[in-house]
């Protein structure tokens, strides 16, 4: 569901500009995700649920986050997957 520009010849330059912008944005985002591994992350979920966990990895479609030592309102789960659709935002210290 990623929007792409239509590309007749005249728009080739525009397409390249868009591809470059997308690459820069994506690469920076991936670097940010990679830097999170083994960091403490706080997730703010829908329904005012707050979670704390040690970040592991994300899938490339950013659908699921794999975490460890997940502190939930009802206890600790050693290994967990969090659906990104359940998350509003998350935070960590660099």
């Amino acid at each position: 569901s990623i929007p792409t520009a239509a590309a007749p010849e005249a728009d080739a330059e525009q397409l390249q500009t868009e591809q470059h912008a997308r690459s820069v944005l994506r690469e920076t985002f991936l670097r940010c995700l990679l830097s999170m591994s083994n960091k403490k992350v706080r997730f703010h979920m829908h329904g005012k649920v707050k979670l704390e966990a040690t970040f592991g990895a994300s899938d490339i479609d950013i659908l699921n986050f794999q975490v460890s030592d997940l502190h939930t309102p009802i206890g600790v789960q050693k290994e967990a997957l969090i659906r990104s659709q359940d998350v509003i935002w998350f935070t960590f210290d660099k």
Partner: protein, 97 residues
């Protein structure tokens, strides 16, 4: 920007990079920070807040939860520099075209 944030696309998103923004997400939560990037796959925003001790706190707001993004100001050269290098491995600093 009021709605449809995930539909904007790279050419629009990149105009928010290096700007200080406020992001409204999930009902009544507002985030403020320097926009590092927007993931083109999930439309999620990465906001950086620099601390006095040289560290930084990072907020990632999921694209599907974004309700409103507003630009407050443009980064000065020093802030833009800190943003640009914040997630680069040291060896490639300054080597990218």
């Amino acid at each position: 920007m009021q709605c449809g944030w995930p539909m904007l696309g790279p050419l629009q998103w990149i105009r928010y990079v290096n700007k200080q923004v406020t992001v409204k997400a999930g009902k009544d939560e507002v985030h403020r920070g320097w926009l590092l990037t927007v993931d083109p796959v999930s439309a999620s925003l990465v906001l950086v807040d620099f601390k006095e001790n040289g560290g930084a706190s990072v907020h990632v707001v999921m694209g599907h939860a974004v309700e409103e993004v507003q630009i407050l100001q443009e980064a000065d050269e020093e802030t833009a520099d800190r943003l640009r290098t914040s997630f680069l491995p040291p060896r490639t600093c300054g080597l990218d075209p």
